[in-house]
């Protein structure tokens, strides 16, 4: 795979992949290293990191182990990021593909709906959804997916608009191929690379959105998410800053990893944008 080789030549992308693997490893080892409930009492509250070898990252204001919460929080954050991204990308592709392929009235209606979503700040919309439907972890994840689909929809639509009039699509119609098959089997694979790249942005934003909700005490308080931990540290931010800073670093590393991987994928899948310009040897009859 040429794309894979191009990816491997990009040091920033490799760093991103390494960080992402690290976060995944943290998530996978959490139940092995911290088999007890991460939200259970672990010791005296507000112990500084590295002061007590039993709770090596210290404890929060309620006396819960910060290290255990960070490790288990990786599972929650990655899961929310992944599921919300899948929801957002699926809706986005479906809306964008139909709008871009059919155009006309269908496109007008779908795009006006998309714009209605886009004009609302998505965090406000998320707050409304959580306020109405409650804040258990499933609802929060679905809600994040529901507020994140407009951008992938627009991207997919733009790709479909340029691809639908290509001669290879016309050739399929001349062969007698139906619309659904043309959309799913002929156009979509060609439209996918930029959408996949954009999925990394959606995932990073989804993780941040959940943290922001948790910071406002609006996420599910019964799971150990990084946002909940930051929210818990809010009250002691000036004296015991590490309670918020440690999960903050975890979020930073994860979002950075996802962004670097996305950027690396972008460069690997769209090689023309990088490196020396393609050489136009001659125009001649090819024009």
């Amino acid at each position: 795979m040429a794309a894979l080789r191009r990816y491997a030549r990009n040091p920033a992308a490799l760093l991103g992949a390494a960080l992402l693997l690290l976060v995944i490893a943290v998530a996978l080892t959490a139940p092995l290293l911290f088999p007890k409930d991460p939200l259970g009492l672990a010791g005296r509250p507000l112990q500084w990191p590295f002061a007590n070898p039993k709770v090596w990252l210290g404890t929060d204001a309620s006396g819960r182990d910060i290290a255990a919460q960070v490790f288990h929080g990786a599972r929650v954050s990655l899961l929310i990021g992944l599921v919300a991204t899948v929801i957002a990308i699926a809706i986005g592709i479906a809306v964008g593909a139909v709008a871009g392929f059919y155009g006309g009235i269908v496109d007008d209606v779908l795009m006006r709906i998309t714009e209605a979503f886009q004009t609302l700040p998505n965090f406000l919309l998320l707050l409304v959804l959580v306020a109405v439907f409650g804040s258990d972890i499933t609802t929060v994840t679905v809600a994040i997916g529901l507020v994140s689909w407009p951008a992938p929809a627009r991207l997919t639509r733009a790709e479909f608009l340029t691809l639908r009039n290509r001669e290879f699509v016309q050739a399929c119609r001349v062969l007698g191929m139906g619309d659904a098959r043309i959309i799913a089997r002929e156009i979509l694979p060609n439209a996918l690379p930029p959408v996949i790249v954009y999925a990394s942005v959606v995932m990073a934003v989804a993780i941040l959105l959940e943290s922001a909700l948790a910071f406002l005490n609006l996420s599910d308080p019964n799971v150990a998410s990084w946002g909940n931990l930051i929210g818990a540290g809010r009250g002691v931010l000036r004296t015991q800053w590490y309670v918020s800073a440690i999960p903050g670093v975890a979020i930073l590393v994860t979002v950075l990893a996802v962004s670097l991987v996305g950027q690396g994928l972008n460069d690997a899948l769209n090689p023309r944008l990088r490196g020396p310009a393609p050489v136009k040897a001659a125009s001649g009859a090819a024009a």
Binding site: L175, G176, P276, G284, A287
Partner: protein
Amino acid sequence: MSDLLAIEHLSVRLPPGADRSHALSDVSLTLAANEILCVVGESGSGKSVLANTVMRLLPPGVRPDGGAVLFRGRDLVGASEAEMRRLRGAKIGMIFQEPMTALNPLRRAGDQIAETFRIHTKLGARAIRDKTLALLDEVRMPDPAAALRAYPHELSGGQRQRVMIAMALALEPALLIADEPTTALDVTTQGRILALIREIQARRGMGVLFITHDFGVVAEIADRVAVMQAGRLVEEGPAEAVLDRPQAPYTRALIGAVPPLLPRAPRPGTEAAPILTVAGVSKTYRKGGGLLAGLLPGRARVTHAVRDVSLSLPRGTTLGIVGESGSGKSTLARCIVRLLDPETGTIRLGDTDLASLSRRAMRAEARRVQMVFQDPFASLNPRRRAGELVAQGPMLHGVSRADAMAKARELFGLVGLDPAAMDRLPHEFSGGQRQRIGLARALALEPELLVADEPVSALDVSVQAQVLALLDRLRDRLGLSMLFITHDLRVAGQICDRIAVMKDGQVVEAGPTAEVFSAPQAAYTRALLDAVPGRAWIPGRPEMPVV
């Protein structure tokens, strides 16, 4: 007479990973003042790199690594960037292929011409305006005062190219470089622009370096000709000598592949009963409006792409539809295969009226009429393997995968491709080979009628000859009837039994090719025939390339 431009042993290196190490290898050419030197070659021959090397407009990573480009004795390869800026525009003018992209769409035409004066002279605004007007007049712009204020999109392709020429000529350069200046233009416009370049060149005594792939254009305009192949100069000499007595085998093969502007010999059986009868077909395009278009009638712009066209195609023959861009020929072709829905009229294929079928019913009839597309790069899905592309059609119509692949294998042999290449992706094939894949895909459904929309216009001339011969052979062998859309009368004469000439959506003349060529009835047909570049030159045919 001393040389205006002398290119001595010039080599230009390509970055690593390109398909060859040098774009140009050891090219030596001279151009005297007051002559037109045509550099001619197929795509990839390095002719555009040659023009860009003289102008020092090479892309990053591509640079000369030997030889010299002497302009009035001064070596441009080693000249400083500041010196090149003083030369470009002032002493050396350049015209590009695509007049739309070479002009800034946000600035008025007059303003863009005036820019040259503002950069290189100290003239006042009034003097610049007068000079710009005079230039537009010199390039025979209809209504120069209006053109001064026009934006590029308000001008036609030919008018835009006139603006480009006016810009290039503004400071009376001694050398004009023209890189395929008429390739993007219609044939009648091309004829006028060629005449204009010739006229201004003679009046000003300029040297012109003219890059082209078209031997017709060469015959029309060249004093001397240089033929290039894969970065090397293969032959150089006076125009008549190269065109009529080519020495190098490559030049002979190239010229042999240029179709002469002559009708093909009439074939027997061209008066058979019609397989396709088109009657009263019209198609209009509506533009603008959007969601409110239905509520505000009369707002949308309406274009009559095809107006009341009637045609018939006798079984087993080829009907050519010839016209310039915007004549509606491609729209008509797309109506016949029902990529577009005609508003009125009937399209009878045998007993079936294709125009009245529902989309679902048309899908079932799809196997009876198939299409070959213009662009060999865009017409194949880049993510499907060649064999699969060909087998796709039969599989859609219920043939099992194994049978369809076997059929694809057979078709690969029929169109002259190696069946072993069925597992490759489209980008691993050349343009001519891709066009053969497109042809195999169309033939896989065993259609009665093949609609070919400019199937050879994107191909180099030698490949074009092979594909035309293949189409001709397959029509006879498979008993096909063919509708052949083209803008090129030379190609039409080569392959069509009958020709219909279209202009502004209407058929202005139709008849057997020989009659249309020898005794055109419509004034427009005569204008088209007169505008074919190099029409007086009948290329000698030493031997046809073996197909």
